[in-house]
């Protein structure tokens, strides 16, 4: 159990080391254990990559903060990643659409993996704040 939690933490810290511009609050739950590691980290990495990409495009005077929250609601794992954004976000059927080449599969991948795990996800872009919420 502890080993799996460590793997998830190491994964998150690994992403942090590659960015150097983030402040995180991390709560890792044992519920992650019932979710395949590869699937969970796929959701996490895509969500964090999108967030890192969005905050890296913020103006210099803007606060570059990403908050990651993992917690339980009864037997459900709730994951949320929130970050500010600057550029306008186009949503199609609730999924953000990329404007640049080489981007755009992350959100769809999150949706695909979440549905594969019989969960649900939501993307919200409102008032300069973006939020990814996943229930597994």
């Amino acid at each position: 159990m502890r080993e799996e939690e460590d793997r998830v933490l190491q994964f998150i810290l690994g992403m942090l080391n590659n960015s150097s511009l983030l402040v995180f609050g991390v709560f890792v739950s044992s519920a992650i254990l019932s979710i395949p590691f590869v699937d969970f980290t796929s959701i996490l990495s895509n969500g964090l990559e999108n967030a890192i990409h969005a905050v890296s495009r913020l103006a210099v005077n803007k606060e570059r903060r990403i908050s990651l929250n993992l917690r339980m609601y009864e037997d459900k794992l709730l994951l949320s990643i929130k970050n500010p954004y600057q550029d306008e976000i186009d949503m199609l059927e609730g999924i953000p659409q990329a404007k640049e080449k080489g981007h755009g599969l992350g959100s769809q991948s999150i949706k695909y993996v979440t549905e594969k795990l019989k969960g649900n996800c939501q993307f919200i872009a409102k008032d300069g704040q973006f939020a990814l919420r996943v229930v597994l």
Partner: protein, 120 residues
Amino acid sequence: MLKLCFGKFGYHLVLRDKLGSYKLQHLLRFYSLLYNGHIMFFLKSGQALEVIQPLYSFETSLLNRKGFFKCHRSYLVYIPNVDYFSNTEIKTRYGRSIPIARGYGRAFKDTYFSIMFQDK
């Protein structure tokens, strides 16, 4: 007559007839209502409670409580007991499928996430 009451420790039903009243506790276990002339209360225990009473007699009091959503003209669902959902269907934690009416999908999704993440 079946009357829905809300107590400090959750929901309970009071069933009244000429002989007296009977309290059915732990309605927190209930997860959906079906109206087709009757109402079926599907309980977590697997029991189904059938009542000859229109859905609207419960609807207002249930929808005023956080956690309930009318996803179809014939169905109310208790959101914490939802396992997962698609655009057209809800699967409950107890294996039952509940339809989502056309046009209710977006509102259901917003309400579901709002309740699960306890938005104010």
